[in-house]
């Protein structure tokens, strides 16, 4: 039932609305005549409705959620509580810096922490999501080339295993995209990279470890090819969790990186955001950082502006990005400390390799068994599909019935019937064992009672949804029964 269907004309929340006042200074012609479609419901109706709706979700707090490349780790509650202290929430973004030194100190410290773990010379916290961080990064690459008068560089190289945001970002920054293939080991095809690189190359966007769940071993060679051609190297930080404290993107030769703080630094995913996509840069890109950047001078903290960084790519948000999310990341980083950073990568990798080993032993097809898993790995359900007709999607839906959120399915597209599995460091061995057992059970069911798997899920609030109908007969807003009736 929708909230609109719980509406009763005339019901009000007296506790939540100020006293009636007339909009006396606004001419009648400018006022709206119609009633917006908002529910008239009591506070308890509303609380019950959205509490019940929330219970229809899988979430990290309720379920194992091994969504590959998404890093669904536990989000410590202290981060939320401390980011929502009243003085932080009440701060207006344009209030004087002098009255926000506590908040600015947290942001400055976070910049320093991120510089250290990434090995970059400077950080801006402002991008509001991973994709906006990518935009900032590629915009800085373009600003760098433009500032040198090097305007013939029109292409960004992207491996075929990359997230869709990479090519989409390159286009948003006015570049064309050159895609290069992956070799049989899951690494970048170096010959193809050499062939693709030239005076038109502005840069390469690389995720390392890649979305195939392996560390790009040839990174030093790749770095040389790109830099020798005058291009810059972009690090997509989607998989930073795998190497936190183990190897720094700056040491690998990357010129610019974005971090998904909602992944690696455990801020909540919130049903699809808000995230935070901080960017880090090497020395030569410092003048181009997006604004504002927090600086410390004589024991006080300030935002740098256009006056300080005249070559900046500019502002990407009206104010200062997703501060509340940055505070959560800061609390998390302080709780981990230096040792905790190393442990993130260690236990994320231990869990992934253990899960991969157990599934491999159980007879599942691992995409790159000859490689170490990073913090994630790929299982292909193609043999199962060939034998039983049960697809990766069917397996994913059946996992829901068994109380597990499925891994990422059908991405990356290079491996048929793939499941990209990222357990994260916060899951226990028992949970991983339970997941292996669930997959084994589903495989047995695929052979014995395939219709059971094909008809899954059966225990969710809804069964499989008709996506074709959703796209063909668009229903994006609810209409009152009277408004849908024929005139």
């Amino acid at each position: 039932m929708l909230i609109f269907e719980r509406s009763h004309p005339g019901r009000r929340n007296a506790a939540q609305a100020p006293h009636h006042a007339a909009a006396s200074g606004i001419p009648a012609a400018m006022l709206r005549k119609d009633q917006p479609l908002l529910p008239e419901a009591s506070e308890m109706d509303v609380v019950r409705h959205y509490t019940r709706l929330s219970q229809k979700n899988f979430s990290i707090d309720t379920h194992f959620y091994p969504l590959g490349s998404c890093t669904m780790k536990y989000n410590p509650r202290a981060c939320n509580t401390l980011a929502m202290l009243p003085n932080f929430l009440a701060r207006h973004p344009l209030a004087p810096e002098a009255s926000g030194q506590g908040m600015l100190a947290c942001l400055y410290d976070l910049q320093e922490i991120l510089k250290d773990v990434t090995g970059m010379a400077g950080v801006s916290l402002m991008p509001m999501a991973g994709a906006q961080g990518e935009f900032a990064g590629i915009a800085m690459i373009r600003a760098y080339h433009d500032a040198r008068g090097d305007t013939a560089r029109t292409e960004i190289i992207v491996p075929d295993a990359a997230h869709g945001t990479n090519p989409a970002t390159a286009v948003m920054c006015g570049y064309t995209v050159k895609e290069i293939p992956t070799d049989a080991n899951g690494d970048v095809d170096l010959d193809a990279l050499r062939a693709a690189t030239g005076p038109q190359t502005a840069g390469l966007m690389l995720t390392n470890p890649s979305t195939l769940g392996v560390f790009e071993k040839q990174i030093q060679a790749i770095q040389k090819i790109i830099h020798d051609a005058g291009g810059l190297l972009y690090y997509d930080g989607a998989n930073l969790n795998a190497i936190l404290g183990k190897v720094k993107p700056g040491d690998m030769g990357f010129d610019v990186i974005h971090m998904n703080l909602h992944k690696t630094f455990s801020t909540p995913h919130g049903g699809g955001g808000p995230g935070a996509g901080a960017v880090g840069v090497a020395q030569r890109l410092l003048p181009f950082l997006p604004l504002p950047v927090v600086t410390r001078q004589d024991e006080s903290y300030h935002y740098l502006t256009e006056k300080d960084l005249p070559q900046s790519i500019g502002h990407l948000s009206a104010f200062t990005g997703n501060i509340g999310i940055l505070l959560r990341a800061y609390v998390y980083a302080r709780m981990l400390g230096a040792d905790g950073m190393h442990r993130v990568a260690e236990f994320a990798t231990l869990n992934a390799n253990y899960l991969m080993a157990e599934l491999h032993k159980a007879g599942f097809t691992v995409a790159f068994p000859q490689r170490r898993a990073s913090h994630e790995f790929i299982v292909s359900m193609k043999p199962l599909k060939d034998a039983t007709g049960i697809s990766a999607m069917d397996v994913a839906k059946r996992l829901l019935d068994k109380g597990f959120h499925p891994p990422t399915t059908y991405f990356p597209m290079l491996v048929p019937e793939c499941m990209l599995i990222e357990p994260t460091e916060t899951e226990s061995k028992e949970t991983l064992d339970g997941f292996v057992n669930a997959l084994k059970e589903i495989r047995d069911e695929a052979h014995a009672t395939p219709e059971l798997v094909k008809g899954a899920p059966r225990t969710m609030p809804v069964r499989r949804l008709d996506d074709v109908k959703a796209a063909r007969e668009l229903d994006l807003t609810w209409k009152t029964p009277t408004s849908t009736a024929p005139e």
Partner: protein, 451 residues
């Protein structure tokens, strides 16, 4: 080990299964020369008690002045239930609802949101949010250019927030889109229709129409919308969603209505929080739906014919279309929209209208009181929503600094952005302000001007 559940026994069993002698061996594919040394900028880990102490101390450093600044972020009452519910783990720790069957809570909430915001803006459809109002404006400009096909010029009045214009420029300039500034009428603080008319007949993709505009003034939205349409350009309404509880919706502007409505959803349940997270909303007419960026939720049926919700029109998006996507946006501001939905449901149309009207009334009262201070003058007698421009007899920076010393955030200094207005500030008094607060403001202003 914080947040890592492994016992020593677990670690050994797992390493044995893998066939590795120790955890470090799992990193043996990383070239040895690249392996990190010690982290130096990060101290030892703090436990929850210690980090809690640290953050409380930091928060205590930040004073809470009585706030009269708006300029794109507004202090409103947020019912306690909003964030109590929005931070339930089931909302807070879920991801983008790719697995629809296990995400009906988030999906239905977003569908309800789309319904509410589309109705407030008077448009046919809404997406499930963008990052904020300013980047949302950039996306609306890109969308208009895609839809228009021939022109890459967009007219942006100087009455659009300078902060928004900065962001829009940063984002769209890389695609060779030209933003043309339209000056405002210095007498009434709204877009100069004569200056606009000079662009008549040229190839224009869109006109941005801010309402209320950055000065809080209400534009002649009907005339502007009709003018845009007469040029075969799209009309982009840049609106405050709370104001729409009172004001004519963009979908009803002029003869045909605006084509796109965009803005910041912060007034609908997002705390000021130093600048974010907020959320951008974007709504459009039916014909433009497939040009929209971001997630869109649709209602459909399941195998048993039971209604359910799912992500739809994904063929527009980066994870499917890659380089040909309408935008690179992936994560948006889902949790903020969840909060906004609960906020709108709790207040209803009547509650939002009261909050909007009270904000309008308080600002009007403040402007009248402040105008009684010697040398202070309200600029622009044009109807306004909940912000007004005051001209001071002295440099705003100094006056505002003295008001800060008295615990009052007195307004936004317009001088750096609009020097032609002289010593002007932008002030806002929302429904959160009492009559006593307004008198405190005026006393502080008077004192600041005397000292």
């Amino acid at each position: 080990m914080p947040f890592i559940p492994h016992t020593e026994q677990d670690i050994q069993t797992m390493l044995t299964s893998i066939g590795a002698s120790n955890i470090d061996a799992l990193f043996d594919e990383i070239p040895a020369a690249l392996r990190s040394g010690k982290l130096t900028a990060i101290g030892d880990g703090l436990n929850e008690m210690q980090v809690s102490r640290l953050m409380h101390e930091r928060a205590a450093q930040d004073s809470q002045p009585l706030n009269f600044i708006g300029a794109g972020a507004y202090e409103h009452h947020i019912p306690a239930a909003v964030w109590e519910i929005a931070t339930r783990g089931e909302y807070y720790t879920a991801y983008t609802p790719y697995q629809a069957e296990a995400s009906q809570g988030t999906l239905q909430t977003l569908y309800e949101y789309q319904t509410m915001i589309a109705s407030l803006t008077g448009m046919d459809a809404s997406n499930a949010s963008l990052y904020d109002g300013a980047s949302g404006l950039a996306e609306a400009i890109l969308m208009a250019v895609r839809a228009h096909k021939s022109s890459r010029r967009v007219l942006v009045p100087a009455t659009v927030s300078p902060l928004y214009r900065n962001v829009a420029r940063s984002i769209v300039k890389l695609q060779n889109i030209e933003l043309v500034e339209i000056p405002f009428d210095i007498a009434n603080g709204t877009t100069d229709l004569n200056a606009l008319q000079q662009h008549a007949g040229s190839d224009i993709a869109a006109l941005v129409i801010p309402h209320p505009n950055f000065f809080g003034a209400l534009e002649d939205v009907g005339a502007l919308t009709d003018w845009a349409h007469a040029q075969n350009a799209l009309a982009i309404g840049l609106v405050n969603p709370l104001a729409l509880a009172l004001l004519r919706a963009p979908g009803n502007w002029g003869a045909k209505g605006a084509d796109i409505a965009v803005g910041d959803g912060q007034p609908l349940g997002a705390p000021l929080s130093g600048g974010g997270p907020y959320f951008g909303f974007m709504c459009c007419k039916q014909a433009l739906i497939r040009q929209m960026p971001g997630r869109i939720i649709g209602r459909t049926v399941d195998l048993d014919g039971k209604p359910g919700f799912t992500l739809t029109l994904q063929a527009r998006e980066q994870h499917i279309r890659r380089a040909k996507a309408t935008s690179n946006i992936c994560s948006n501001q889902g949790l903020m929209v969840t909060a906004a939905t609960i906020h709108m449901a709790l207040l209803g149309a009547d509650g939002l209208r009261r909050a909007a009207a009270a904000s309008h009334g308080n600002t009007q009262a403040l402007a009248a009181l402040a105008s009684g201070v010697r040398g202070v003058k309200r600029l622009f007698s044009t109807p306004h929503f909940h912000e007004v421009v005051l001209r001071l007899p002295k440099s705003p920076a100094a006056v505002l600094a003295r008001m800060t010393e008295q615990g009052i955030s007195g307004g936004f200094d317009l001088h750096p952005h609009y020097p032609q207005l002289g010593n002007a500030i932008l002030v806002c008094a929302t429904e959160t302000k009492t009559e006593d607060d307004l008198h405190r403001y005026v006393a502080a202003l008077r004192h600041a001007l005397q000292s």
